[in-house]
Protein backbone atom coordinates (compact mmCIF):
# COMPACT_ATOMS: atom_id res chain seq x y z
CA UNK A 1 0.00 0.00 0.00
CA UNK A 2 2.75 2.46 0.96
CA UNK A 3 6.08 2.03 -0.69
CA UNK A 4 9.23 4.08 -0.33
CA UNK A 5 11.63 3.78 -3.24
CA UNK A 6 15.26 4.87 -2.80
CA UNK A 7 14.18 7.48 -0.24
CA UNK A 8 16.93 9.68 1.13
CA UNK A 9 17.17 12.90 3.09
CA UNK A 10 20.02 15.17 4.16
CA UNK A 11 20.07 18.23 6.38
CA UNK A 12 22.94 20.68 5.86
CA UNK A 13 25.03 18.02 4.11
CA UNK A 14 24.49 15.55 6.96
CA UNK A 15 22.77 12.38 5.77
CA UNK A 16 19.75 11.64 7.94
CA UNK A 17 18.55 8.82 5.71
CA UNK A 18 20.61 6.98 3.08
CA UNK A 19 18.74 5.74 -0.03
CA UNK A 20 16.22 3.30 1.42
CA UNK A 21 13.52 1.01 0.02
CA UNK A 22 10.59 0.29 2.29
CA UNK A 23 7.32 -1.54 1.85
CA UNK A 24 4.52 -1.08 4.37
CA UNK A 25 2.02 -3.91 4.38
CA UNK A 26 -1.68 -3.07 4.19
CA UNK A 27 -3.66 -3.67 7.37
CA UNK A 28 -0.53 -4.53 9.37
CA UNK A 29 1.53 -2.79 12.01
CA UNK A 30 5.03 -1.89 10.87
CA UNK A 31 7.41 -0.78 13.61
CA UNK A 32 10.40 1.36 12.63
CA UNK A 33 12.93 1.07 15.41
CA UNK A 34 16.42 2.36 16.06
CA UNK A 35 18.43 4.53 18.40
CA UNK A 36 18.28 8.31 18.63
CA UNK A 37 19.38 9.93 15.38
CA UNK A 38 19.06 6.73 13.36
CA UNK A 39 16.61 8.31 10.87
CA UNK A 40 13.33 6.86 12.14
CA UNK A 41 11.37 10.09 12.37
CA UNK A 42 12.88 11.32 9.10
CA UNK A 43 11.62 8.17 7.37
CA UNK A 44 8.17 8.54 8.98
CA UNK A 45 7.87 12.19 7.91
CA UNK A 46 8.83 11.27 4.35
CA UNK A 47 6.24 8.48 4.25
CA UNK A 48 3.59 10.84 5.65
CA UNK A 49 4.47 13.47 3.04
CA UNK A 50 5.39 16.04 5.69
CA UNK A 51 8.88 16.42 4.18
CA UNK A 52 10.07 16.10 0.62
CA UNK A 53 12.79 13.51 0.09
CA UNK A 54 16.20 14.51 -1.25
CA UNK A 55 15.76 11.68 -3.72
CA UNK A 56 13.36 8.83 -4.32
CA UNK A 57 9.61 8.41 -4.33
CA UNK A 58 6.80 7.58 -1.92
CA UNK A 59 4.04 5.54 -3.56
CA UNK A 60 0.48 5.38 -2.21
CA UNK A 61 -1.00 2.72 -4.42
CA UNK A 62 -0.06 4.03 -7.85
CA UNK A 63 0.25 7.69 -6.84
CA UNK A 64 3.63 9.28 -6.23
CA UNK A 65 3.31 11.50 -3.17
CA UNK A 66 6.20 13.65 -4.38
CA UNK A 67 4.51 14.40 -7.72
CA UNK A 68 0.85 14.99 -6.84
CA UNK A 69 -0.73 18.41 -6.29
CA UNK A 70 -1.27 19.88 -2.83
CA UNK A 71 -5.02 19.50 -3.31
CA UNK A 72 -4.68 15.76 -4.01
CA UNK A 73 -2.31 15.38 -1.07
CA UNK A 74 -4.91 16.93 1.26
CA UNK A 75 -7.56 14.60 -0.18
CA UNK A 76 -5.35 11.60 0.56
CA UNK A 77 -4.68 12.86 4.06
CA UNK A 78 -8.35 12.70 4.92
CA UNK A 79 -7.84 8.94 5.12
CA UNK A 80 -4.72 9.27 7.29
CA UNK A 81 -4.10 10.01 10.94
CA UNK A 82 -0.97 10.81 12.89
CA UNK A 83 -0.03 10.71 16.54
CA UNK A 84 2.86 13.09 17.18
CA UNK A 85 5.65 12.57 19.68
CA UNK A 86 4.57 15.56 21.80
CA UNK A 87 0.86 15.10 21.00
CA UNK A 88 0.61 18.37 18.99
CA UNK A 89 -2.85 19.17 20.30
CA UNK A 90 -4.16 22.54 19.11
CA UNK A 91 -3.66 24.50 22.31
CA UNK A 92 -6.42 27.03 21.63
CA UNK A 93 -9.04 24.25 21.57
CA UNK A 94 -10.33 22.08 24.38
CA UNK A 95 -10.27 18.27 24.33
CA UNK A 96 -13.67 17.98 22.64
CA UNK A 97 -12.81 20.46 19.88
CA UNK A 98 -9.42 18.84 19.29
CA UNK A 99 -10.98 15.41 18.75
CA UNK A 100 -13.86 16.89 16.74
CA UNK A 101 -11.53 19.05 14.64
CA UNK A 102 -11.14 16.72 11.62
CA UNK A 103 -14.87 15.96 11.68
CA UNK A 104 -15.77 19.65 11.69
CA UNK A 105 -13.30 20.29 8.88
CA UNK A 106 -14.13 17.49 6.51
CA UNK A 107 -17.69 16.36 7.14
CA UNK A 108 -21.13 17.94 7.13
CA UNK A 109 -22.29 15.81 10.04
CA UNK A 110 -24.76 17.22 12.50
CA UNK A 111 -23.21 18.39 15.77
CA UNK A 112 -25.15 15.74 17.73
CA UNK A 113 -23.60 13.02 15.55
CA UNK A 114 -20.15 14.56 15.98
CA UNK A 115 -20.74 14.71 19.71
CA UNK A 116 -21.57 11.00 19.77
CA UNK A 117 -18.51 10.14 17.70
CA UNK A 118 -16.22 12.21 19.92
CA UNK A 119 -17.70 10.55 23.02
CA UNK A 120 -17.01 7.13 21.50
CA UNK A 121 -13.39 8.01 20.73
CA UNK A 122 -12.85 9.49 24.18
CA UNK A 123 -14.44 6.47 25.82
CA UNK A 124 -12.03 4.29 23.84
CA UNK A 125 -9.05 6.14 25.38
CA UNK A 126 -10.68 6.37 28.82
CA UNK A 127 -11.08 10.13 28.85
CA UNK A 128 -14.82 10.70 28.52
CA UNK A 129 -15.79 13.49 30.89
CA UNK A 130 -12.62 15.48 30.15
CA UNK A 131 -14.12 17.25 27.10
CA UNK A 132 -13.87 20.76 28.55
CA UNK A 133 -10.23 20.53 29.63
CA UNK A 134 -7.60 22.50 27.73
CA UNK A 135 -4.39 20.81 26.48
CA UNK A 136 -2.31 22.77 29.01
CA UNK A 137 -4.30 21.13 31.83
CA UNK A 138 -3.57 17.56 30.68
CA UNK A 139 -0.72 15.29 31.76
CA UNK A 140 1.61 13.88 29.08
CA UNK A 141 -0.19 10.55 29.07
CA UNK A 142 -3.63 12.15 28.84
CA UNK A 143 -2.49 14.43 26.01
CA UNK A 144 -1.20 11.39 24.09
CA UNK A 145 -4.53 9.63 24.56
CA UNK A 146 -6.45 12.68 23.36
CA UNK A 147 -4.08 12.88 20.37
CA UNK A 148 -4.76 9.19 19.74
CA UNK A 149 -8.51 9.84 19.80
CA UNK A 150 -8.04 12.75 17.39
CA UNK A 151 -5.91 10.63 15.03
CA UNK A 152 -8.70 8.03 14.99
CA UNK A 153 -11.64 10.43 14.69
CA UNK A 154 -12.00 10.01 10.91
CA UNK A 155 -11.47 6.23 11.11
CA UNK A 156 -8.36 6.48 8.95
CA UNK A 157 -6.97 3.74 6.74
CA UNK A 158 -3.37 4.63 7.54
CA UNK A 159 -2.05 5.92 10.85
CA UNK A 160 1.46 7.15 11.65
CA UNK A 161 2.66 6.97 15.25
CA UNK A 162 5.76 8.96 16.16
CA UNK A 163 7.18 7.67 19.44
CA UNK A 164 3.72 6.92 20.87
CA UNK A 165 5.03 5.66 24.22
CA UNK A 166 8.00 7.95 24.85
CA UNK A 167 7.88 9.86 28.11
CA UNK A 168 4.97 7.84 29.46
CA UNK A 169 4.73 5.78 32.61
CA UNK A 170 4.56 1.98 32.07
CA UNK A 171 0.79 1.84 32.48
CA UNK A 172 0.08 4.68 30.03
CA UNK A 173 2.63 3.16 27.69
CA UNK A 174 0.87 -0.19 27.88
CA UNK A 175 -2.52 1.47 27.30
CA UNK A 176 -1.28 3.23 24.15
CA UNK A 177 0.37 0.04 22.82
CA UNK A 178 -2.82 -1.93 23.39
CA UNK A 179 -4.92 0.78 21.75
CA UNK A 180 -2.69 0.74 18.67
CA UNK A 181 -2.86 -3.04 18.42
CA UNK A 182 -6.61 -3.32 19.05
CA UNK A 183 -7.57 -0.50 16.71
CA UNK A 184 -5.35 -1.81 13.92
CA UNK A 185 -6.87 -5.28 14.19
CA UNK A 186 -10.49 -4.15 14.47
CA UNK A 187 -10.37 -1.58 11.67
CA UNK A 188 -7.87 -3.40 9.44
CA UNK A 189 -5.82 -0.22 9.68
CA UNK A 190 -2.31 0.16 8.29
CA UNK A 191 -0.12 1.43 11.12
CA UNK A 192 3.45 2.71 11.01
CA UNK A 193 4.94 3.05 14.46
CA UNK A 194 8.25 4.77 15.07
CA UNK A 195 9.67 3.84 18.44
CA UNK A 196 12.84 3.15 20.35
CA UNK A 197 10.84 1.18 22.90
CA UNK A 198 12.05 -2.32 21.99
CA UNK A 199 9.53 -4.23 24.06
CA UNK A 200 6.52 -2.24 22.84
CA UNK A 201 7.72 -2.32 19.23
CA UNK A 202 8.29 -6.07 19.14
CA UNK A 203 5.09 -6.79 21.05
CA UNK A 204 2.68 -4.96 18.76
CA UNK A 205 4.34 -5.09 15.33
CA UNK A 206 3.69 -7.53 12.51
CA UNK A 207 6.80 -6.32 10.74
CA UNK A 208 9.87 -4.60 12.14
CA UNK A 209 12.42 -2.38 10.43
CA UNK A 210 15.59 -1.57 12.34
CA UNK A 211 17.59 1.51 11.39
CA UNK A 212 21.11 2.54 12.26
CA UNK A 213 22.91 5.61 10.92
CA UNK A 214 20.17 6.23 8.37
CA UNK A 215 20.27 2.71 6.93
CA UNK A 216 18.11 -0.37 7.39
CA UNK A 217 20.17 -3.02 9.16
CA UNK A 218 17.38 -5.56 9.69
CA UNK A 219 13.78 -6.13 8.73
CA UNK A 220 11.25 -8.87 9.15
CA UNK A 221 8.74 -10.29 11.63
CA UNK A 222 9.50 -9.64 15.33
CA UNK A 223 10.65 -13.24 15.89
CA UNK A 224 13.14 -13.01 13.03
CA UNK A 225 14.49 -9.76 14.48
CA UNK A 226 14.81 -11.34 17.94
CA UNK A 227 16.75 -14.25 16.48
CA UNK A 228 18.95 -12.13 14.21
CA UNK A 229 22.65 -12.92 14.52
CA UNK A 230 23.62 -9.37 13.58
CA UNK A 231 25.62 -8.04 16.54
CA UNK A 232 24.17 -4.51 16.03
CA UNK A 233 20.61 -5.85 16.24
CA UNK A 234 21.35 -7.83 19.38
CA UNK A 235 23.10 -4.88 21.02
CA UNK A 236 20.06 -2.67 20.34
CA UNK A 237 17.54 -5.26 21.53
CA UNK A 238 19.47 -5.96 24.72
CA UNK A 239 20.31 -2.29 25.31
CA UNK A 240 24.01 -3.05 25.87
CA UNK A 241 26.35 -0.04 25.98
CA UNK A 242 29.24 -2.05 24.49
CA UNK A 243 29.15 -3.41 20.98
CA UNK A 244 29.41 -2.34 17.35
CA UNK A 245 27.02 0.58 17.88
CA UNK A 246 29.12 3.14 19.73
CA UNK A 247 27.57 5.10 22.58
CA UNK A 248 29.95 8.04 22.21
CA UNK A 249 29.49 10.36 19.22
CA UNK A 250 32.56 12.47 20.00
CA UNK A 251 34.51 13.11 16.84
CA UNK A 252 37.87 13.90 18.40
CA UNK A 253 40.06 12.17 20.94
CA UNK A 254 39.13 13.05 24.53
CA UNK A 255 42.76 12.79 25.67
CA UNK A 256 43.92 15.04 22.82
CA UNK A 257 41.22 17.57 23.67
CA UNK A 258 42.30 17.67 27.30
CA UNK A 259 46.05 17.78 26.71
CA UNK A 260 46.19 20.10 23.69
CA UNK A 261 43.94 22.89 24.90
CA UNK A 262 45.70 26.28 25.07
CA UNK A 263 46.98 26.87 28.56
CA UNK A 264 47.07 23.18 29.45
CA UNK A 265 50.14 22.10 31.42
CA UNK A 266 51.92 19.25 29.66
CA UNK A 267 53.58 16.59 31.75
CA UNK A 268 56.80 15.45 30.13
CA UNK A 269 57.88 11.91 30.84
Amino acid sequence: MIRGEQLSKSYDNVTALAPTDIHVREGKITAIMGGSGSGKTTLLRLLAGLDKPGSGHVWYGDEDLCAITDRRLYELRQSMGMLFQYSALLNSLNVYDNVAFPLHEHTDLDETVIHTMVSMKLEQVGLRGFEEMMPSELSGGMAKRVAFARAMSMDPKIVFFDEPTSGLDPISSGVISTLIQNTAQKNHMTSIVVTHDVQAGLAIADHVILLWQGRIIAKGPPDAIRESDDARVQQFLEGRPDGPIPFSRSTTSYIDDLTHRPGTVRLES
Binding site: Q78, M80, M82, F84, A88, L89
Partner: protein
Protein backbone atom coordinates in the same frame (compact mmCIF):
# COMPACT_ATOMS: atom_id res chain seq x y z
CA UNK B 1 52.19 39.51 6.18
CA UNK B 2 52.55 43.17 5.26
CA UNK B 3 50.22 45.84 6.60
CA UNK B 4 48.70 46.20 3.15
CA UNK B 5 47.88 42.52 2.79
CA UNK B 6 46.39 42.41 6.32
CA UNK B 7 44.13 45.34 5.43
CA UNK B 8 43.20 43.71 2.14
CA UNK B 9 42.28 40.40 3.79
CA UNK B 10 40.27 42.22 6.49
CA UNK B 11 38.38 44.07 3.77
CA UNK B 12 37.78 40.81 1.90
CA UNK B 13 36.31 39.25 5.08
CA UNK B 14 34.16 42.34 5.70
CA UNK B 15 32.76 42.45 2.17
CA UNK B 16 32.36 38.68 2.14
CA UNK B 17 30.17 38.83 5.24
CA UNK B 18 28.29 41.83 3.90
CA UNK B 19 27.59 39.93 0.68
CA UNK B 20 26.41 36.86 2.55
CA UNK B 21 24.03 38.96 4.67
CA UNK B 22 22.73 40.71 1.54
CA UNK B 23 22.19 37.38 -0.23
CA UNK B 24 20.40 36.00 2.82
CA UNK B 25 18.20 39.11 2.98
CA UNK B 26 17.27 38.83 -0.71
CA UNK B 27 16.60 35.10 -0.29
CA UNK B 28 14.28 35.81 2.67
CA UNK B 29 12.53 38.59 0.80
CA UNK B 30 11.81 36.24 -2.10
CA UNK B 31 10.79 33.35 0.14
CA UNK B 32 8.54 35.59 2.27
CA UNK B 33 6.88 37.12 -0.78
CA UNK B 34 6.21 33.70 -2.30
CA UNK B 35 4.85 32.34 0.99
CA UNK B 36 2.59 35.37 1.55
CA UNK B 37 1.30 35.38 -2.03
CA UNK B 38 0.76 31.65 -1.88
CA UNK B 39 -1.35 32.15 1.25
CA UNK B 40 -3.27 35.03 -0.36
CA UNK B 41 -4.21 32.97 -3.44
CA UNK B 42 -6.01 30.61 -1.04
CA UNK B 43 -8.46 33.39 -0.17
CA UNK B 44 -10.63 32.24 -3.09
CA UNK B 45 -10.44 28.56 -2.22
CA UNK B 46 -12.82 26.64 0.03
CA UNK B 47 -13.14 26.26 2.95
CA UNK B 48 -13.72 29.99 3.55
CA UNK B 49 -11.82 31.36 6.49
CA UNK B 50 -14.39 34.01 7.48
CA UNK B 51 -14.79 32.80 11.05
CA UNK B 52 -11.03 32.72 11.60
CA UNK B 53 -10.67 36.16 10.05
CA UNK B 54 -13.25 37.57 12.50
CA UNK B 55 -11.48 35.87 15.42
CA UNK B 56 -8.17 37.38 14.33
CA UNK B 57 -9.72 40.82 13.89
CA UNK B 58 -10.96 40.51 17.45
CA UNK B 59 -7.65 39.27 18.85
CA UNK B 60 -5.38 41.61 16.91
CA UNK B 61 -7.63 44.60 16.31
CA UNK B 62 -9.82 44.84 19.41
CA UNK B 63 -6.88 43.69 21.53
CA UNK B 64 -4.84 46.71 20.33
CA UNK B 65 -7.55 49.31 21.02
CA UNK B 66 -6.31 50.40 24.45
CA UNK B 67 -2.70 50.88 23.42
CA UNK B 68 -3.80 52.80 20.31
CA UNK B 69 -6.05 55.13 22.31
CA UNK B 70 -3.34 55.82 24.90
CA UNK B 71 -0.64 56.42 22.28
CA UNK B 72 -2.96 58.58 20.17
CA UNK B 73 -4.00 60.67 23.17
CA UNK B 74 -0.49 61.41 24.36
CA UNK B 75 0.81 62.04 20.85
CA UNK B 76 -1.94 64.63 20.26
CA UNK B 77 -1.30 66.21 23.64
CA UNK B 78 2.44 66.56 23.20
CA UNK B 79 2.01 67.82 19.64
CA UNK B 80 -0.35 70.52 20.91
CA UNK B 81 2.12 71.55 23.60
CA UNK B 82 5.12 71.64 21.27
CA UNK B 83 3.12 73.19 18.44
CA UNK B 84 1.71 75.92 20.65
CA UNK B 85 5.20 76.75 21.97
CA UNK B 86 6.57 77.09 18.42
CA UNK B 87 3.57 78.85 16.86
CA UNK B 88 3.29 81.33 19.72
CA UNK B 89 6.72 82.69 18.75
CA UNK B 90 5.21 83.76 15.42
CA UNK B 91 1.82 84.75 16.78
CA UNK B 92 0.17 81.92 14.84
CA UNK B 93 -1.46 79.96 17.66
CA UNK B 94 -4.65 79.79 15.60
CA UNK B 95 -2.89 77.33 13.27
CA UNK B 96 -2.50 74.80 16.08
CA UNK B 97 -5.45 72.68 14.93
CA UNK B 98 -4.13 72.43 11.39
CA UNK B 99 -0.61 71.63 12.63
CA UNK B 100 -1.74 68.89 15.00
CA UNK B 101 -4.22 67.42 12.50
CA UNK B 102 -1.84 67.42 9.56
CA UNK B 103 1.05 65.91 11.53
CA UNK B 104 -1.15 63.15 12.89
CA UNK B 105 -3.12 62.31 9.75
CA UNK B 106 -0.21 62.43 7.33
CA UNK B 107 2.64 61.06 9.39
CA UNK B 108 2.44 60.31 13.08
CA UNK B 109 -0.83 58.40 13.04
CA UNK B 110 0.20 55.85 10.40
CA UNK B 111 3.79 55.45 11.66
CA UNK B 112 3.25 55.45 15.43
CA UNK B 113 0.07 53.43 15.03
CA UNK B 114 1.96 50.89 12.93
CA UNK B 115 4.74 50.71 15.54
CA UNK B 116 2.23 50.06 18.30
CA UNK B 117 0.49 47.37 16.26
CA UNK B 118 3.84 45.73 15.46
CA UNK B 119 4.69 45.66 19.18
CA UNK B 120 1.27 44.50 20.32
CA UNK B 121 -0.10 42.32 17.51
CA UNK B 122 2.83 41.63 15.16
CA UNK B 123 5.06 40.15 17.84
CA UNK B 124 2.21 37.97 19.11
CA UNK B 125 1.53 36.70 15.56
CA UNK B 126 5.17 35.66 15.12
CA UNK B 127 5.42 34.09 18.57
CA UNK B 128 2.11 32.23 18.22
CA UNK B 129 2.95 30.77 14.81
CA UNK B 130 6.50 29.96 15.97
CA UNK B 131 5.18 28.08 18.99
CA UNK B 132 2.77 26.20 16.74
CA UNK B 133 5.81 25.11 14.73
CA UNK B 134 7.77 24.08 17.84
CA UNK B 135 4.88 22.01 19.15
CA UNK B 136 4.23 20.45 15.71
CA UNK B 137 0.73 21.96 15.55
CA UNK B 138 1.32 23.10 11.97
CA UNK B 139 2.34 19.55 11.05
CA UNK B 140 -0.73 18.25 12.85
CA UNK B 141 -2.91 20.56 10.74
CA UNK B 142 -1.16 19.27 7.59
CA UNK B 143 -1.87 15.68 8.62
CA UNK B 144 -5.51 16.56 9.31
CA UNK B 145 -5.72 17.77 5.70
CA UNK B 146 -5.93 21.42 6.73
CA UNK B 147 -3.59 23.77 4.90
CA UNK B 148 -1.79 25.80 7.59
CA UNK B 149 -1.10 28.59 5.12
CA UNK B 150 -4.82 28.97 4.55
CA UNK B 151 -5.83 28.44 8.18
CA UNK B 152 -3.05 30.24 10.03
CA UNK B 153 -1.33 32.72 7.71
CA UNK B 154 -4.17 33.99 5.52
CA UNK B 155 -6.62 35.15 8.26
CA UNK B 156 -3.81 36.94 10.08
CA UNK B 157 -2.47 38.74 7.00
CA UNK B 158 -5.96 39.90 5.99
CA UNK B 159 -6.92 40.82 9.57
CA UNK B 160 -3.82 42.98 10.13
CA UNK B 161 -4.18 44.61 6.70
CA UNK B 162 -7.71 45.71 7.60
CA UNK B 163 -7.11 46.34 11.31
CA UNK B 164 -4.27 48.84 10.83
CA UNK B 165 -6.32 51.42 8.84
CA UNK B 166 -9.18 51.15 11.34
CA UNK B 167 -6.92 51.46 14.37
CA UNK B 168 -4.96 54.33 12.86
CA UNK B 169 -8.23 56.14 12.09
CA UNK B 170 -9.03 55.85 15.79
CA UNK B 171 -5.51 57.04 16.63
CA UNK B 172 -6.07 60.12 14.42
CA UNK B 173 -9.42 61.00 16.01
CA UNK B 174 -8.12 60.55 19.56
CA UNK B 175 -4.90 62.45 18.76
CA UNK B 176 -6.75 65.43 17.26
CA UNK B 177 -9.25 65.36 20.11
CA UNK B 178 -6.61 65.30 22.82
CA UNK B 179 -4.72 68.06 20.97
CA UNK B 180 -7.94 70.09 21.11
CA UNK B 181 -8.25 69.56 24.88
CA UNK B 182 -4.68 70.67 25.54
CA UNK B 183 -4.72 73.53 22.99
CA UNK B 184 -8.17 74.93 23.73
CA UNK B 185 -8.89 73.96 27.32
CA UNK B 186 -5.40 74.26 28.81
CA UNK B 187 -3.55 76.74 26.62
CA UNK B 188 -6.46 78.97 25.66
CA UNK B 189 -6.46 78.67 21.87
CA UNK B 190 -9.73 79.80 20.35
CA UNK B 191 -11.88 76.69 19.73
CA UNK B 192 -13.28 78.10 16.48
CA UNK B 193 -9.79 78.81 15.20
CA UNK B 194 -8.58 75.31 16.16
CA UNK B 195 -11.41 73.51 14.37
CA UNK B 196 -11.70 76.03 11.53
CA UNK B 197 -8.04 75.81 10.56
CA UNK B 198 -8.13 72.06 10.96
CA UNK B 199 -11.03 71.74 8.49
CA UNK B 200 -9.70 74.38 6.11
CA UNK B 201 -6.13 73.14 5.83
CA UNK B 202 -6.58 69.38 5.74
CA UNK B 203 -7.61 68.12 2.32
CA UNK B 204 -8.91 64.74 1.17
CA UNK B 205 -5.50 64.24 -0.44
CA UNK B 206 -3.92 64.26 3.04
CA UNK B 207 -6.48 61.77 4.31
CA UNK B 208 -6.11 59.45 1.31
CA UNK B 209 -2.31 59.60 1.64
CA UNK B 210 -2.49 58.57 5.29
CA UNK B 211 -5.03 55.89 4.50
CA UNK B 212 -2.91 54.37 1.70
CA UNK B 213 0.04 54.27 4.08
CA UNK B 214 -1.92 52.39 6.73
CA UNK B 215 -3.11 49.76 4.25
CA UNK B 216 0.45 49.24 2.95
CA UNK B 217 1.85 49.11 6.50
CA UNK B 218 -0.83 46.65 7.58
CA UNK B 219 -0.11 44.34 4.67
CA UNK B 220 3.63 44.57 5.33
CA UNK B 221 3.23 43.83 9.03
CA UNK B 222 1.02 40.84 8.26
CA UNK B 223 3.41 39.42 5.67
CA UNK B 224 6.59 39.96 7.73
CA UNK B 225 5.24 38.73 11.06
CA UNK B 226 3.54 35.62 9.67
CA UNK B 227 6.59 34.78 7.56
CA UNK B 228 9.01 35.13 10.47
CA UNK B 229 6.84 32.88 12.64
CA UNK B 230 6.25 30.27 9.95
CA UNK B 231 9.91 30.03 8.99
CA UNK B 232 11.28 30.30 12.53
CA UNK B 233 13.65 27.62 13.69
CA UNK B 234 11.45 25.19 15.67
CA UNK B 235 13.18 25.76 19.01
CA UNK B 236 12.34 28.11 21.88
CA UNK B 237 15.44 30.16 21.07
CA UNK B 238 14.46 30.20 17.40
CA UNK B 239 11.00 31.54 18.19
CA UNK B 240 12.45 34.25 20.44
CA UNK B 241 14.91 35.25 17.71
CA UNK B 242 12.19 35.26 15.05
CA UNK B 243 9.94 37.47 17.22
CA UNK B 244 12.71 40.01 17.74
CA UNK B 245 13.58 39.95 14.03
CA UNK B 246 9.93 40.40 13.06
CA UNK B 247 9.61 43.52 15.23
CA UNK B 248 12.89 44.99 13.98
CA UNK B 249 12.34 44.21 10.29
CA UNK B 250 8.70 45.38 10.33
CA UNK B 251 9.58 48.62 12.17
CA UNK B 252 12.50 49.47 9.88
CA UNK B 253 10.38 48.45 6.88
CA UNK B 254 7.60 50.82 7.97
CA UNK B 255 10.06 53.74 8.16
CA UNK B 256 11.58 52.99 4.75
CA UNK B 257 8.23 52.52 3.03
CA UNK B 258 6.89 55.59 4.82
CA UNK B 259 9.62 57.71 3.24
CA UNK B 260 8.92 56.27 -0.21
CA UNK B 261 5.15 56.77 0.09
CA UNK B 262 5.54 60.28 1.54
CA UNK B 263 7.68 61.27 -1.43
CA UNK B 264 4.83 60.12 -3.71
CA UNK B 265 2.04 61.82 -1.80
CA UNK B 266 3.70 65.19 -1.16
Amino acid sequence: MTDLSIKQSALAVFFGQLGRHAMRGIEQLGDGTMLGLNALTLIFRRPWQGKHFVLQMQALGVGSLVIIVITGAFTGMVLALQGYYTLAKFGSESLLGAGVGMSIIRELGPVLGAFMIIGRAGSSITAEIGIMRVTEQTDALEMMAVNPKQRILLPRIVAVTLAVPLLVSLFDVVGIGSGYIVGVELLGVNPGAYMGELIAKITMHDIYGGWVKTVVFGFMIGMICTYMGYRSEPTTEGVARATTQAVVVASVGVLIVDYILTSFFL
